[in-house]
C-alpha cells in the first residue's frame, strides 16, 4: 500500500515536472538555445552522456584491439621482422621486432583497456545511461549532474592512461592484474615506474566514475519508474543493469582500497604487499635500512579479485540483459521464463561475490579455502545454464527477424555456451593445476567474457542505434557482414587456443621458442594471428558503418517501425532532453507480450481496455 501511495505521489510530482519542462521548453526555444558546451560537452542529458561513453569506448576499443593485433604479429611470426613497426614504434620495435618490454606493455594495456574502458565503461556506461530512463519511463537520471561527472571522471581516467602510453619507460607492463611486487618495484620492471603510477591514478579515478554512475542507476531504477512500471514489469535489461550497478557499488571500492595500498607501498614506504625481497643484487630495505618484512602479496590478489571477479559479471550481465531483450523482441515471442531470468541474475549477483579466489588456486592459499571456492564457482554454472536454456526456449517456435542485433544476440548465446563450459574445467581447482595461466584460460575468458560481452555490446548498438542518432539506422548488410566475419573469426582465434592450453603453453610468453614442450604450435599461431587481423578489419567496417549511419543512415519515419513493446519506442523519433514531449506514458503490462491472444505486439503502454 505504502508503495502504491508513493508511486502515485511520485507520479504527481513528475507531472509537475512535465508541465514545468514543457513550459520551459517552449520558452527556451525562442530565446536561449542550449549552448554547444552544455549540449555536447558538459551535457546532463542521459542520452548525450551515453553517446559520450560510447564514442570514448569505441576509440578505446580500437586502440585496445589494435594492441592485440600488434602482439599477435609477434606471436604469429616470432622470427619475422616488420619494418613498418619500427617506423611507427621506433625504439619499441628495433629492427622491426617488438621489444619484450613493449610486448608486455601491450598485453597489459590490452587487458586494462578492454576490461575497464571498453567492456565496463563503454558497455554499462553507454547502455545503462541510454536505456534506464527510456525503458522505465523517466525524464532523466536521478542525479543528472553526478551522471555528467561520472563521464568526466571516466574521461580523466582515460586521459591519464592515454598519457602513460607515451612515456619513455612505457605504460604499466605487469599484466592487467598488476600483481605486486612486480608492479610495486620499479627496479623489477621499467613499466612499474611512472607508467604504473599513472595506471593506478587512472584506476582510482575510474572507480569514482563507476561509483557515481552505479549509484545513479540504482537510485533511478528504484525511484523513478513511471506509473504502473512495477519491478516485475521492467524489461530484463533493467534488471541486468540494476544488479550490475549493485555489483559495481559493492566491489569497486575494494579495488580502490587495493590500489591505494599499492600507491602507498610505491610512494610512501609502506609495505602492505612487500616482504622478504632481494632484488637487483640487494635486500629491499626501508628508509631505516631494515629489511622490509611482514607484507603479503596475496593480500593484493584478494583485494583485486574481490572486484576482479564481480567485474566479469559487471561485463556480462548488461550483455545478458540486452540479449534477452533483443532476442525476445526479434523472436516476436515473450522471453522464456521471465521470473526465472530475474532470479538467475539475482543468483549470479550473489554468487559473484563468493567465487573470487578461484583465480588464486595456485597462489599457495590454504587448500581448504580453495575447495569452498570450487563449490561456489561450479554452482554459478547453474543460473548461467538456466539463462542459456531460457534463451533457447525463447527461440522455440519463434518467428525470428534477423536484424544485425539479432545475429549478434544469437552469436552471444553460442559464445556464452562455449566459454561457460570451459569455465567448468577452470573452476575446478584440481583441473586448474595444469590449466592455470595457460592459453586455456586466455581462450576461456575471451570467449565467455570478451566475445560474449562484445557481442552483447554490438547487439545493443545495432538495436538502439536509432534512439541515439535521431532515428537513423545502421546499414543492415554491413552489419551482417560484420557479424559473420566476427563470429566465425572469433571462434578461429580462440578455439585453437584451447589446444595450446591443454598442452600447457603458458600465457604471457613473448615467445615459446625456449621450451621444447611448448614450441610446436607455430602454424596454429599463424592461423590465430591471421584470424585476429581479419576480425580487426571487420571491426573497421563496423566503425565506418557506425559513423556513416550516424549522419547519413536510413531514417525511421514512425516512432516504432519495428513493433517493439518497450517504452523507448514511444518517445519521439528525435527525443529531446526529457524524453517524452507530453506526459510520461503509464505502463499497464509486462514488456514481452508478443503474439498474445492474436495481437502481433502489445506495447507496455496499452491498457487492457484498448485490446477489446
Amino acid at each position: 500500500m505504502a508503495n502504491m501511495h508513493q508511486d502515485t505521489l511520485h507520479n504527481d510530482l513528475s507531472h509537475d515536472v512535465i508541465h514545468h519542462d514543457a513550459d520551459h521548453h517552449e520558452e527556451g526555444h525562442g530565446h536561449h538555445k542550449e549552448s554547444f558546451i552544455t549540449k555536447y560537452i558538459f551535457s546532463q542529458d542521459h542520452k548525450m552522456i551515453s553517446k559520450q561513453f560510447l564514442i570514448t569506448g569505441i576509440v578505446w576499443s580500437l586502440i585496445g584491439v589494435f594492441f592485440s593485433v600488434l602482439f599477435r604479429f609477434q606471436l604469429g611470426w616470432p622470427d619475422e621482422s616488420f619494418p613498418l613497426l619500427e617506423m611507427f614504434l621506433g625504439g619499441w620495435a628495433k629492427g622491426g621486432k617488438l621489444d619484450p618490454q613493449f610486448y608486455y606493455a601491450l598485453v597489459t594495456m590490452h587487458g586494462t583497456i578492454m576490461v575497464f574502458f571498453v567492456l565496463t565503461a563503454g558497455l554499462s556506461g553507454t547502455f545503462s545511461n541510454l536505456l534506464i530512463p527510456l525503458q522505465i519511463g523517466a525524464r532523466d537520471m536521478a542525479a543528472p549532474f553526478l551522471n555528467m561527472l561520472s563521464y568526466w571522471f571516466f574521461f580523466t581516467a582515460s586521459v591519464l592512461l592515454f598519457i602513460s602510453l607515451f612515456l619513455q619507460t612505457g605504460p604499466a607492463a605487469g599484466g592487467w592484474t598488476v600483481y605486486p611486487p612486480l608492479s610495486a618495484l620499479p627496479q623489477a620492471n621499467i613499466g612499474s615506474g611512472t607508467g604504473m603510477t599513472l595506471w593506478l591514478l587512472s584506476m582510482a579515478v575510474f572507480v569514482v566514475s563507476s561509483l557515481l554512475g552505479s549509484l545513479n542507476y540504482i537510485a533511478t531504477i528504484l525511484n523513478m519508474r513511471t506509473k504502473g512500471m512495477t519491478m516485475m514489469r521492467m524489461p530484463l535489461t533493467m534488471w541486468a543493469f540494476f544488479f550490475t550497478a549493485i555489483l559495481g557499488v559493492l566491489s569497486f571500492p575494494v579495488l580502490l582500497s587495493g590500489a591505494l595500498l599499492l600507491i602507498f607501498d610505491r610512494s610512501l614506504g609502506t609495505n602492505f604487499y612487500l616482504s622478504d625481497i632481494y632484488i637487483a643484487g640487494q635486500q629491499f630495505t626501508n628508509s631505516a635500512g631494515e629489511l622490509v618484512q611482514g607484507g603479503s602479496p596475496i593480500l593484493f590478489q584478494h583485494l583485486f579479485w574481490f572486484l576482479g571477479h564481480p567485474e566479469v559479471y559487471i561485463i556480462i550481465l548488461p550483455a545478458m540483459g540486452m540479449v534477452s531483450e533483443i532476442l525476445a523482441a526479434n523472436c516476436r515471442k515473450p522471453i522464456f521464463g521471465y521470473s526465472a531470468m530475474v532470479l538467475s541474475i539475482l543468483a549470479i549477483t550473489v554468487l559473484a561475490f563468493l567465487v573470487w579466489a578461484h583465480h588464486m588456486f595456485m597462489s599457495g592459499m590454504n587448500p581448504f579455502v580453495g575447495s569452498i571456492f570450487v563449490l561456489f564457482t561450479l554452482l554459478i554454472a547453474v543460473p548461467s545454464a538456466i539463462k542459456v536454456f531460457n534463451w533457447i526456449g525463447t527461440m522455440w517456435r519463434a518467428n525470428i527477424n534477423y536484424t544485425p542485433a539479432t545475429l549478434f544476440a544469437v552469436g552471444f548465446v553460442s559464445m556464452f555456451i562455449s566459454g561457460g563450459l570451459t569455465g567448468i574445467f577452470l573452476g575446478n581447482s584440481t583441473l586448474d593445476i595444469p590449466l592455470h595461466d595457460t592459453y586455456f584460460v586466455t581462450a576461456h575468458f575471451h570467449i565467455v567474457m570478451a566475445m560474449a560481452g562484445g557481442f552483447g555490446m554490438l547487439a545493443g548498438i545495432y538495436h538502439w542505434f536509432p534512439k541515439m542518432w535521431k532515428g537513423r539506422q545502421m546499414n543492415d548488410t554491413m552489419g551482417a557482414i560484420h557479424f559473420w566475419v566476427t563470429f566465425v573469426g572469433s571462434y578461429c582465434i580462440f578455439w585453437p587456443m584451447h589446444y595450446l592450453g591443454m598442452t600447457g603453453v603458458p600465457r604471457r610468453y613473448y615467445t615459446d621458442e625456449y621450451f621444447n614442450t611448448f614450441n610446436m604450435y607455430e602454424n596454429l599461431n599463424v592461423f590465430i594471428s591471421v584470424s585476429a587481423i581479419i576480425v580487426f578489419a571487420a571491426q573497421l567496417l563496423f566503425v565506418i558503418n557506425f559513423f556513416y549511419s550516424a549522419f547519413k543512415g536510413k531514417k525511421m519515419t514512425t516512432e516504432n517501425p519495428f513493433n517493439y513493446n518497450t517504452l523507448e519506442w514511444t518517445t519521439p523519433i528525435e527525443p529531446g532532453h526529457g524524453n517524452w514531449e507530453g506526459a510520461i506514458p503509464a505502463v499497464h503490462r509486462g514488456p514481452y507480450e508478443y503474439y498474445k491472444d492474436g495481437h502481433d505486439f502489445i506495447p507496455q503502454t496499452t491498457p487492457d481496455s484498448a485490446l477489446k
Binding site: 616488420f82 619494418p83 613498418l84 618490454q101 608486455y104 623489477a188 612487500l274 616482504s275 632481494y278 635486500q283 631505516a288 631494515e290 629489511l291 618484512q293 611482514g294 607484507g295 515473450p334 522464456f336 521464463g337 521471465y338 595456485m362 599457495g364 580453495g370 575447495s371 554452482l379 538456466i386 531460457n390 533457447i392 527461440m395 522455440w396 517456435r397 519463434a398 534477423y402 555456451i417 562455449s418 563450459l421 567448468i424 574445467f425 575446478n428 584440481t430 593445476i433 595457460t438 546499414n475 543492415d476 548488410t477 551482417a480 557482414i481 589446444y499 603458458p506 610468453y509 625456449y514 621450451f515 621444447n516 614442450t517 611448448f518 610446436m520 604450435y521 558503418n545 508478443y594 503474439y595
Partner: protein
C-alpha cells in the same frame, strides 16, 4: 615492408567495396519500398548460414581436436597427474554433450524458426516445470564434479608422506635455483638478510642442517619416490611449473609455498616412449615476472632411485664450496654480534620514536 603495405591496401579496398555494396543494397531497398519479402529472404539466408555454421563447425571442432591430440602432453609422469586426467575426462563427459546438444538446438531453431510475414510465433511465456528440470540437472551434475574435484584436490594438496625427499626451488628474475637437502633430507634455515655474493640462498651457517645442503642447476628427481618441493621467490611472484608432472604453484616473496608429487617415468623412459632422444622434462615460470618471464627454463631429470642417490652423494655442499668453516672462524662472530646489536638498537629506536 612492401608486403605489409600491400596487405594494408588490400584490406582498405575490401572495406571500401563492402561499404559501397552495402550502401547500394540499402538504396535499392528504399527504392523498392522495404517490403516483407526482402526481410523474409534475409531471414532465410541468416537462418541457413547458422545451420551451415553448425554443420561445418561442429565436425570441424571434433576433427581439429582429434588432429591435435598428439600434440597434447603425453600421459602425466606423476601419480597425482593420473587423478587430474581422470577429472579432465569426467568434466569432458559432462560438458561435451551439453556443448553439442545446445548448439544443435540453438542453430536448428535459428534455421527453422527464421521469420516470415505468414508465420506467427507461439505465445509461450515459460514453464516452471521445465525451469525446475533444467535447474536440477545441472545442479546435480555440478555437485558430482565438485565432489570428485574436491576429493582429488585434498589428496593432491594434502600432507606429503613423511619420507618425501625435500628440495627447495627459489625463483628470481630470471632463473630458478635449486637447493637440495643433502643426505639428511633436512633443509637448513635461511633468511633474506643473510644473502650475499657468497651466500646466494641466505643460508644460516649456524644451522647444522645447512652443512650438507647443495645447489644444483638441473632439477634431479628420484623415480617413484615422493618429492616435496619447497617453493620460494626472492623478488617478485613466479610460478613453479612442471607441465609433464602437472605441478604448478606460485612462488611468493615472503610466503613459502610447496607442492609434493611422485614422478613415475624416468627421462630415459620418456625418450623411448616418445621416440625422441632429445626429450627433456622442463621447468617453466607460469606467473608473469617481468621482461624475461618466457625464459626461465630449467631441465628436469628423473632417474632411478639408486642413480639419484649416487648423484646426491656426489654433490659438494655449499658449506664446503664456499669454505664457510674457514671464513667463519675469522669473521662470523663479530658480524653476528654486530647483527644483534643492530637489531636491538633498531628496536629501541623504534620504541623511542613511538613515544
Amino acid at each position: 615492408m612492401n608486403t605489409t603495405l600491400l596487405g594494408l591496401i588490400i584490406v582498405l579496398l575490401v572495406l571500401i567495396i563492402l561499404f559501397q555494396i552495402s550502401r547500394a543494397g540499402e538504396l535499392i531497398g528504399v527504392l523498392r519500398g522495404n517490403n516483407m519479402t526482402s526481410q523474409e529472404r534475409n531471414n532465410k539466408i541468416h537462418g541457413m548460414l547458422f545451420l551451415i555454421f553448425m554443420i561445418v563447425g561442429l565436425p570441424l571442432s571434433f576433427w581439429a581436436t582429434w588432429y591435435y591430440k598428439d600434440w597434447f602432453l603425453p600421459p602425466a609422469s606423476s601419480v597425482h597427474g593420473a587423478e587430474i586426467e581422470s577429472m579432465f575426462f569426467w568434466t569432458l563427459v559432462a560438458t561435451v554433450p551439453v556443448f553439442v546438444l545446445t548448439h544443435i538446438v540453438l542453430f536448428v531453431f535459428s534455421y527453422i524458426y527464421s521469420g516470415s510475414a505468414t508465420k506467427k510465433s507461439y505465445y509461450f511465456p515459460g514453464s516452471n516445470k521445465l525451469e525446475m528440470i533444467w535447474t536440477m540437472i545441472p545442479a546435480f551434475v555440478m555437485i558430482l564434479l565438485v565432489y570428485q574435484g574436491i576429493s582429488s584436490w585434498y589428496r593432491i594438496m594434502g600432507d606429503a608422506p613423511a619420507d618425501a625427499y625435500i628440495i627447495e626451488a627459489t625463483a628470481k628474475q630470471f632463473a630458478w635455483d635449486f637447493r637440495y637437502s643433502g643426505l639428511d633430507n633436512k633443509l637448513g634455515n635461511k633468511q633474506i638478510k643473510y644473502i650475499s655474493s657468497e651466500n646466494a640462498f641466505g643460508q644460516d651457517w649456524k644451522d647444522a642442517n645447512n652443512k650438507d645442503d647443495f645447489q644444483a642447476d638441473t632439477l634431479h628427481l628420484p623415480l617413484n619416490k615422493a618429492v616435496l618441493v619447497k617453493i620460494n621467490a626472492l623478488d617478485v611472484l613466479h610460478n613453479f611449473y612442471l607441465p609433464h608432472f602437472k605441478v604448478k604453484m606460485d612462488a611468493v616473496p615472503g610466503i613459502p609455498t610447496q607442492f609434493w608429487f611422485i614422478p613415475t617415468k624416468t627421462t630415459e623412459q620418456m625418450r623411448q616412449d616418445l621416440n625422441n632422444p632429445k626429450f627433456e622434462y622442463e621447468l617453466a615460470c607460469a606467473e608473469l615476472c617481468g621482461v624475461s618471464h618466457f625464459n626461465m627454463r630449467r631441465v628436469v631429470v628423473v632417474e632411478e632411485e639408486a642413480k639419484f642417490k649416487k648423484w646426491l652423494a656426489s654433490q659438494e655442499s655449499l658449506y664446503k664450496k664456499q669454505n664457510v668453516a674457514a671464513k667463519e672462524s675469522n669473521t662470523t662472530p663479530t658480524t653476528a654480534s654486530q647483527q644483534t646489536e643492530e637489531n636491538s638498537s633498531a628496536t629501541t629506536s623504534k620504541k623511542v620514536s613511538l613515544k
